[in-house]
């Protein structure tokens, strides 16, 4: 993503944002509410069109411009999203939710295998296959949202605020799961998060976004922890 300006109508949210995620990395996008994390993620998913700048995916030397692609096409390229606030289908069953994660044609072939994998990874979902997603607890819903994203066999996983609305113990469980999945399935992960301590537990490096600008790029979690902005925003120093 390079020099991206984006927003909604007259309101510009992102100002010249450039970030990069390399294959196999876990990158954290840190910032408090209203700084543009979700907008940035939506730009990658083709749900918000940037006014200027580039968003692209490079695989084996070929470069694909994502700004001209629809969300369906981007999902087909192997990018999956665990949306902010989970965005489940509350009146559909757990299983129906999972199957909808595999809507793209390429994923339908692997649907049995992916479903088994999802249910093995999140055993709590197995017993609740027929239950309505909206009737589960917040932690279970977050697990389902992650499992659903994996149903499309992605190579790149975007996770938007997985910690929102969860008790601290559940937050570390969810974050731990993301790390585990990343290793099992060789995923590349970009995670937007405001919970600094949890995010830096599993991230290789990260960016700090303030008022729609990347204010700091930490090449390691160490650098992030020692940064002044972090001290100011998160640690209250």
């Amino acid at each position: 993503m390079r020099d991206v300006d984006a927003g909604y109508g007259a309101v510009r949210v992102l100002h010249g944002v450039s970030i990069e995620v390399r294959e196999g990395e876990t990158v954290a996008l840190l910032g408090t509410n209203g700084n543009g994390k979700s907008t940035l993620i939506k730009c990658i998913m083709g749900m918000v069109a940037p006014e200027s700048g580039e968003v692209f995916l490079e695989t084996d030397g070929t470069r694909v411009d994502l700004t001209r692609k629809s969300t369906e096409e981007i999902v087909s390229l192997g990018i999956a999203l665990v949306p902010e606030g989970r965005r489940l289908f509350p009146k559909l069953t757990v299983e129906e939710n999972l199957l909808l994660g595999a809507y793209r044609k390429g994923a339908r072939a692997d649907i049995e295998r992916n479903l088994e994998f999802a249910l093995d990874t999140f055993p709590v979902l197995r017993g609740r296959r027929g239950q309505l997603a909206g009737s589960m607890s917040g932690g279970e819903q977050q697990m389902l949202a992650i499992a659903r994203a994996l149903m499309s066999s992605p190579r790149i996983l975007l996770v938007d605020e997985p910690s929102v609305g969860l008790a601290p113990i559940l937050v570390s469980r969810v974050i731990g799961k993301i790390k585990e999945l990343k290793e099992q399935r060789q995923l590349t992960v970009l995670m937007a998060e405001q919970n600094f301590n949890q995010a830096t537990k599993i991230a290789d490096r990260g960016y700090i976004i303030v008022h729609g600008k990347i204010e700091f790029e930490g090449r390691s979690t160490q650098e992030l922890r020692e940064n002044e902005l972090v001290k100011k925003y998160y640690l209250g120093v």
Binding site: M47, R87, L88, F89, P90, K91, L92, L100, Y103, S152
Partner: protein, 311 residues
């Protein structure tokens, strides 16, 4: 494949039973009433593809139905086209209207979509009222072709409607069990989430408005020959808007059988009331039953059955 073959067999059996009933030569009124009930099976099924599966509540059923009917009127006036042509043309023109409405209301969700479809019906009716070629607001007499393939013309139309109902239900059942149906249920439940998952929301919505429009148009195409006198107030009757919505709601919107149950029950009750009490009782019955269901059994008869079975 075995499923499809089974469906086909059941469908053919129903059509054959319809023809057998047509041969019975019972009280001619029964064919009249049967035609209306079957017509409502088609209408309710068509409405449910968009409204039940996709969650887009269409108040503009009369527009699609009447467009099918008036397309037939034009073709009869112009070249006295045969019935199969009327059915196909009525369906296609209404399908185009469906596609257009889908495009125009791309960004309208929930109640705003419903308002737009309501307006559509009014606009279209006004246009027809001012078009002399099809009779304008005075209406137009339509002569039935002489010599139907069998029986008298009403019996023949009744049989045609049996086939159309079977066709519509088959289409709905196919959609329900395919990825299209799964995608539409995502659209109904949470359109934003569907978008995030890469479900092609726009294409699905256009597909649903088009198919729904097609079937509503097909249901309307034989209407001129059935009533033999077409005028805007009867073709655009509010009954169609109310029934199209009430029947699936009463039967149950999540399965193809729901609209069929609703249409048969409510359609029969209306016909019965028309004969025994008065024709004004029609909509009154629908209203009362609909209110009762919305309050007591919001998931319709299917939901009630499921609850009784303890699921």
């Amino acid at each position: 494949m075995r499923h499809t073959a089974g469906t086909l067999l059941v469908g053919l059996a129903v059509v054959a039973a319809g023809i057998a009933v047509a041969m019975l030569r019972v009280n001619p009124y029964l064919y009249f009433a049967g035609y209306v009930i079957l017509q409502y099976v088609v209408i309710a099924t068509a409405w449910n593809i968009l409204g039940g599966y996709g969650g887009y509540v269409n108040f503009g059923t009369p527009a699609f139905f009447a467009l099918g009917a008036y397309t037939a009127v034009v073709l009869i006036q112009w070249i006295r086209a045969p019935l199969p042509v009327l059915l196909l043309a009525g369906g296609l023109v209404s399908a185009l209207l469906g596609l257009g409405i889908g495009y125009l209301t791309l960004r309208l969700r929930g109640v705003f979509f419903s308002i737009a479809t309501l307006a559509l019906s009014i606009v279209l009716q006004t246009m027809i009222m001012n078009w002399d070629y099809v009779g304008g607001s005075r209406g137009l007499s339509v002569l039935r072709p002489s010599g139907p393939p069998f029986g008298n013309y009403v019996v023949f139309l009744f049989t045609v409607m049996v086939a159309l109902a079977v066709g519509a239900v088959t289409v709905a059942r196919f959609i329900e069990r395919s990825w299209i149906g799964r995608g539409l249920s995502a659209l109904r439940d949470n359109e934003e989430a569907a978008e995030c998952m890469g479900v092609p929301t726009l294409r699905l919505k256009l597909f649903a408005t088009t198919v729904s429009g097609f079937l509503l148009g097909v249901a309307g195409a034989p209407f001129p020959y059935y009533v033999t006198f077409v005028e805007p107030n009867s073709a655009f009757a509010i009954d169609y808007a109310v029934n199209a919505l009430a029947m699936p709601m009463i039967g149950g919107t999540t399965s193809w059988i729901g609209p069929v149950i609703g249409a048969v029950l409510l359609g029969s009750a209306q016909q019965l009331a028309t004969v025994t009490i008065s024709s004004e009782m029609n909509l009154f019955i629908v209203g009362v039953v609909l209110v009762a269901f919305v309050v007591l059994a919001p998931e319709g008869i299917l939901g009630l059955v499921r609850r009784l079975r303890g699921r």
